[in-house]
């Protein structure tokens, strides 16, 4: 009697490694993101939102809290609406801003959910099929350290607020305060980002990264 591989184990990929369906999920995410830029009419955006809801359920293999994503969407919408109001000063302009924000959200949401639900080693395994192993590692490591960098930026932001920088949301309503944001947060954040990249690169080299021409891939858990 033949035995069946459990679904969660996934199929074997190159070199005897499993991809857990990450390749398929990655393709779906890219297609959904591209469709968001093509959708212009409200009906199309509504249809795409519905498809996204189903896709998110599939990506996560169950219901998923989108509180964090919705907060990002709310901020993004507020900024885009503000800019459109400033530019057009009409309800039509506001509606246009809302549609742009909606499109952007639909373009980014699948990727955000995918990054939360796919394992890093799984992503590397899939990426190594279409790009060199080192490039795949660098790309996946960048994704892994984004939260760390955001944490560092948060520290910088909070310290600078108390030093008097006019960078609280209510301060940034006035465009002449944006210079403070650039000067006290963006500049140190870039410096920190470069330092972080240096530390990560050193840690990787300390474990033989780039020492040998051929790189293999962890077969998965």
């Amino acid at each position: 009697m033949g035995s069946r591989m459990p679904a969660a184990q996934g199929r074997l990929a190159q070199g005897g490694t499993r991809d857990d369906g990450i390749g398929r999920r990655m393709i779906v995410v890219m297609v959904l993101s591209c469709l968001a830029f093509l959708a212009r009419r409200v009906e199309q955006l509504l249809l795409l939102t519905g498809i996204n809801a189903v896709a998110i359920f599939w990506l996560h293999r169950g219901p998923l809290s989108l509180r964090r994503e919705m907060r990002t969407f709310a901020w993004q919408t507020a900024i885009i609406l503000g800019l459109h109001l400033f530019r057009f000063r009409t309800m039509a302009g506001l509606w246009l801003g809302f549609k742009v924000s909606w499109q952007l959200f639909l373009a980014l949401l699948p990727g955000m959910v995918f990054a939360r639900t796919a394992s890093q080693s799984g992503i590397v395994r899939v990426l190594t099929r279409v790009m060199p192993g080192r490039a795949a590692f660098v790309l996946s490591t960048c994704m892994r350290f984004i939260p760390r960098l955001l944490g560092e930026i948060k520290n910088i932001y909070e310290g600078q607020v108390l030093r008097g920088a006019r960078i609280l949301p209510r301060d940034l309503v006035r465009p002449w305060h944006w210079a403070d944001l650039l000067h006290c947060v963006v500049v140190p954040a870039v410096v920190q980002g470069m330092a972080l990249a240096g530390h990560i690169a050193l840690a990787a080299r300390a474990r033989g990264f780039e020492r040998f021409p051929r790189r293999t891939c962890w077969p998965g858990e």
Binding site: G15, G16, T17, S119, Q120, S121, G133, F137, T141, R144, F145, R148, E152, N155, I156, E158, G159, Q160, V161, L162, R163, G164, A165, R166, L168, R170, D171, H183, C184, V187, P188, V191, Q192, L196, H199, I200, L202, A203, A204, R205, A206, R207, G208, F209, E210, R211, F212, R214, R215, T216, C217, W218, P219, E221
Partner: protein, 459 residues
């Protein structure tokens, strides 16, 4: 090939190194030998070249001019990665999301066949005493466990010498205790260890030999003479004159993303001029507490009153200072003078007042000669001082510091501490200081509290 227990694993002769823009060599004629199964401790002030030496030994020399010889025993030289280097902050070295993938990272780089990896990963995890499944997320490990994963990640590549750069800067006493037990086992297995550490007390039992970088680039045999932790002779602080409450928190609670309480029932009162220390192991929520007190995070329960009002960051500008663990990340101006004057400009002070205040601060911190220097080109310790000076310049009534001495040597720590205590006394400034070292003494503090088991209790 078996190792000769008497022969050195590695021999360094007449090693020297100079950074591209430096006038002086950071290492001069360094000779050393490392024997199997021995633990060495390299001490020296911040910036004396400990990390540079560690990087050269592990084949990761930074850009610069170097000279000298580095010779490995034949059995070691044949290994792909004979020297393993674990840097200071485990979090920036964890490159994968699961324990298995993390330990296997080196094997991937060595081109080991995937089918052979799980067994070698399991053996390395057993060697460091970490019984975790390969799919266990690294983000859920304690700091001590993360450190052990990193050591396993080098052992899996058959490292014969492990270099650990300042483990004490991040690990709490529990993590250091686990590390001590692991180092004992590694030594017994013939693996040599080099600790670059200026506060080695918790690991003294495993150290066989001390070396010291003297600050002029020379390496000398060392001898551990006692604590490098800031101590000094402080007058016993008295709470007698402290009356006006600056900060009052009642029944404060905070829930993490998983809905569990990080801490709850927290109550504290801080008076003007009072110095309070909050200690706690890694991950107990010390930084979260500071953020809640300042209004950057909303607590899940309880109330905070700070400077006669609600904790609103906008209201606290210039009146409260905040320094996180890596203070130099707050530096952004072109000169030290501009860095210190930034907050004063935002307070709307007159130019002459700003100039006068900046001069006072520069003088008070003993950094007048750095006034026109770029903050980004200073040494680690100097950046620390400038960041602190910049925060204190507006004369805050309350200063919150999150583990401010991490990574500083004994001398610099003492210097920073003396400045803070003197400033606090002179300006009647209150202070909340968090630390991951509950066992240290804080004779300069009026009160020491401990975050433990989700509660804030008297230490």
């Amino acid at each position: 090939m078996q190792l000769d227990e008497q022969a050195p694993l590695l021999r360094m002769r007449k090693a020297s190194f100079r950074y591209p823009d430096a006038a002086e060599q950071v290492l001069k004629d360094v000779d050393l030998e490392i024997a199997p199964g021995c633990c060495y401790c390299l001490t020296g002030p911040t910036g004396s070249g400990k990390t540079t030496l560690a990087r050269i030994l592990s084949g990761l020399a930074p850009d610069g001019d170097g000279g000298g010889e580095l010779e490995f025993a034949p059995a070691v030289a044949s290994a792909a990665m004979p020297v393993g280097l674990v840097l200071q902050d485990p979090d920036v070295q964890l490159l994968a999301s699961t324990v298995g993938a993390e330990v296997a990272f080196g094997l991937e780089n060595l081109g080991v066949e995937p089918a052979a990896m799980p067994e070698r990963v399991s053996a390395a995890l057993t060697a460091v005493g970490l019984a975790k499944a390969h799919d266990f997320p690294v983000d859920k490990l304690s700091m001590g466990q993360k450190y052990r994963v990193l050591i396993a990640a080098h052992l899996v590549m058959e490292a014969r010498l492990l270099i650990l750069d300042e483990p004490g800067a991040q690990l709490d006493p529990e993590g250091l205790l686990q590390l001590r037990g692991l180092l004992e086992r590694l030594k017994a297995a013939g693996i040599a260890v080099l600790l670059c550490e200026h506060r080695p007390e918790p690991l003294l039992a495993v150290i066989d030999e001390f070396w010291q970088l003297t600050g002029d680039g020379r390496l000398q045999p060392g001898r551990w003479t006692g604590t490098a932790v800031p101590s000094g002779s402080w007058p016993v602080p008295s709470c007698a004159g402290l009356s006006e409450a600056l900060l009052h928190a009642e029944d404060l609670a905070f829930q993490g993303a998983d809905g569990q309480d990080v801490w709850s029932g927290v109550g504290l009162e801080l008076r003007r001029g009072e110095r309070m220390v909050v200690t706690g192991l890694n991950g107990t929520g010390k930084t979260t507490l500071l953020r809640c007190l300042l209004g950057f995070l909303a607590p899940s329960g309880g109330q905070v009153s700070i400077l006669d009002g609600l904790p609103e960051p906008g209201r606290l500008r210039g009146r409260v200072g905040l320094l996180f663990q890596n203070p130099q990340s707050q530096l952004f101006e072109n000169t030290v003078r501009e860095e210190i004057s930034f907050a004063l400009k935002r307070l709307g002070l007159a130019r002459s007042t700003i100039a006068e205040r900046v001069s006072q601060v520069l003088q008070g911190f003993g950094i007048e000669d750095l006034a026109e220097a770029s903050p980004h080109k200073l040494s680690y310790g100097q950046k620390h001082l400038v960041a602190l000076a910049a925060v204190l310049a507006p004369g805050p009534e309350l200063l919150l510091l999150d583990d401010p001495l991490a990574g500083l040597d004994g001398y610099r720590s003492q210097e920073v501490l003396e400045l803070l205590v003197r400033w606090s006394d002179h300006h009647n400034m209150a202070l909340i200081w968090t630390s991951h070292e509950p066992d240290l003494e804080y004779p300069w503090a009026h009160r020491v509290l401990r975050l433990e088991g989700g509660r804030l209790v008297a230490a």
